[in-house]
Symmetry: C2
């Protein structure tokens, strides 16, 4: 029979092992870093980012620590978006989502099977804090489209910035349905808050980002892109055994474009894209800029347009005359032109020979270029800024 | 003093707790799934991928389970590449890397701080198995450029496929230096193995992928892209406190392009890109195809070119006459034309106004288009297939 001494020794051993397991499980958070350093040592998580200064890309990379970004929707695109910003050392992130992690999400990056059942924002916050404890988080496990939550959501966008009481610097919409996009649009139009919309198609092989400056560029209600709801309640669509396709590749590319343009905007380098599409089947990247629709349904959008025009008019005329925007006011938009033209089934067949089997209530908003079509013709690939009027003329001549 | 009974009870409790901690730490691997199902339930990790069939994108998605891909280098691009393939349910992955995880890698996706010090292949295999236990792994923690390892590497590419004894279906090069790229090139030329090269620039804001079919398209020795070594030993460059910049955005976009084209190639949908570039500053995507250099330094490349020409000649003439490749044989390449033209410091200044501060032994291989340049002119953005001769003529007229 074991002696008391033996047993006590055994207990000490077990306690040590338990302590070790627990420490490992906690993933030993690295200590916080008070100041970003350029020092080139293996232990510096910011050395490769601070090197952007030496490379002449960014003047003041450290400034990222004073910025706050809201990510609305932390699914296939939003979770990767939040991870990229966290690894880049953003000052603060606000995350909004009401969904739970499921095994059915495992074909996209970020979440892991053992997180199934957790709320997405809770799972995301835990992982992101382990990755970078320097980032500050505010997470909300709710649906922004209900009245009470919408009020709270607006309030956080308006006052939840890095310095309390200030607005966030940018809102990134990574939601997967029309209703939520319109909600973000409404909030940002009212607040005059710049945001970037993102989306991936139901067939998983195309996506886009769209930078919206209220009053200055087309808002989501001026011209909704990609997949367009036809009034059917999208919540019911989801429940009826309907399953959109998705790929980790397309979602990571869209998240990459989204965060790259966020960094360019916040840290002031390169050119921020206003609309950038990704067509995976042909590696084709439509790009354009659209001015707002003066008859937009959203009255806050129309108000922001007036405010923008007043600001433009009040600018001293001597300053950058060459680059000054046209003050053309579009009286109306009788053709209800969208950012990307809607296509009929016939047009679809002609363009890529296939009509996706979309569920009731959804239609495809753009498609791949027809093989015979030259990639440097057509409005979709045009890099120049166009007014709705110009686009309308072009479409009439087609 | 504690009785023996008390101590034994305490031991049992500690053992139970230890067991619980260990089970939790293992992240409770989900059970293997013997057959991919299209069933739309939250617990099916493949529902969103199998939906690609219903959407008409892929004919036979399940076939992915019979494919094997080798990923050489599991750093910023390679780790995300391996994760995407794992989540897509690839049959088997071979991973090669000799590096260790460091905190300095935390500005890219995938690795986490608590993995610091682990070998990259070991850390990657553990995470990937937790994400998808259906995937088979073979990992090698060695440098492929040494003689012994190179022999073993060649053997695994040749016989390490999904069915033992068969070659892998595709090699993806995600390495960060010239020597390793040339090693992959040498192996694939000798084996006639199709592969895709990938790379990201030292200043973190551009990248590319290049699909290489030995004998049919330009190999890495025919025309090395992006950053070109000028004979200085790259290993010494790394040690001298030199630190290239990197961004999770650029690396995820390149990995996205790489795996998307891998899926298109393996599952036969869309068009596989031969060369696709990503310039993040201007969201510009050069694309082209280049035929091999008949005077390539790699004799296996030249042999593969002869073999390809013989195969082409022996094809029945009636078959697809319209699409048949030209049989033009280029006698020589006196201008040593590269895939992307090298630029001088002056050209760089003219194009984007900035000359990156590259360390000795590295030079920039391509740059952003000059603002005045129209994006649909110039060889770099041309989507059509060009011979070296045609490109040479174009460059002489510039």
């Amino acid at each position: 029979m074991a002696t008391v001494k033996d047993l006590q020794k055994k207990i000490k051993e077990l306690e040590a092992e338990l302590e070790k397991e627990r420490r490992e499980k906690q993933n030993v958070l690295r200590p916080k870093i008070s100041q970003m350093s350029s020092e080139v040592v293996d232990s510096n998580p910011y050395s490769r980012l601070m090197a952007l200064k030496r490379m002449g890309i960014v003047d003041d990379y450290e400034k990222i620590r004073e910025y706050c970004v809201a990510v609305v929707g932390v699914g296939g695109v939003g979770s990767v978006t939040a991870e990229m910003l966290t690894r880049c050392g953003i000052g603060k992130l606000l995350l909004f989502d009401y969904d739970k992690v499921e095994l059915a999400n495992m074909n996209r990056l970020f979440y892991q099977p053992h997180q199934s059942g957790m709320s997405k924002v809770e799972a995301a916050e835990k992982t992101l804090k382990e990755i970078n404890p320097d980032v500050e988080f505010e997470v909300y496990n709710y649906n922004i489209t209900t009245m009470d939550n919408f009020t709270h959501f607006m309030e956080r966008i308006k006052t939840g910035g890095f310095k309390s009481g200030e607005p966030v610097n940018l809102v990134l919409s990574c939601v997967d349905n029309f209703e939520a996009r319109m909600t973000v649009n409404t909030a940002c139009n009212e607040l005059g808050q710049n945001w970037i919309e993102s989306g991936v198609s139901e067939n998983a092989v195309s996506g886009h980002i769209q930078f919206i400056i209220p009053g200055e560029t087309s808002c989501y209600a001026c011209a909704p892109p990609l997949v367009v709801s036809t009034k059917t309640d999208e919540k019911t669509l989801k429940r009826e055994g309907v399953c959109a396709a998705s790929l980790p590749t397309t979602m990571a590319v869209v998240a990459g474009f989204l965060v790259q343009n966020t960094l360019k905007y916040l840290l002031k380098f390169g050119d921020v894209s206003y609309y950038l599409g990704y067509n995976a089947l042909q590696d084709f990247f439509p790009s354009m800029t659209l001015r707002p629709n003066p008859t937009c349904d959203d009255r806050h959008c129309v108000n922001q347009q007036h405010a923008f025009q007043l600001r433009e008019k009040s600018k001293p005329k001597v300053e950058k005359v060459e680059e000054k925007e046209d003050d053309v006011i579009h009286e109306d938009n009788p053709f209800e032109i969208q950012l990307v033209s809607e296509t009929t089934e016939e047009e679809l067949k002609n363009s890529e020979g296939f009509v996706p089997d979309l569920v009731q209530g959804l239609k495809v908003a753009y498609t791949t270029p027809a093989p015979s079509q030259n990639s440097d013709s057509g409005a979709m690939v045009d890099n120049t800024e166009k007014s709705l009027e110009e686009l309308m003329k072009e479409m009439q001549t087609l």
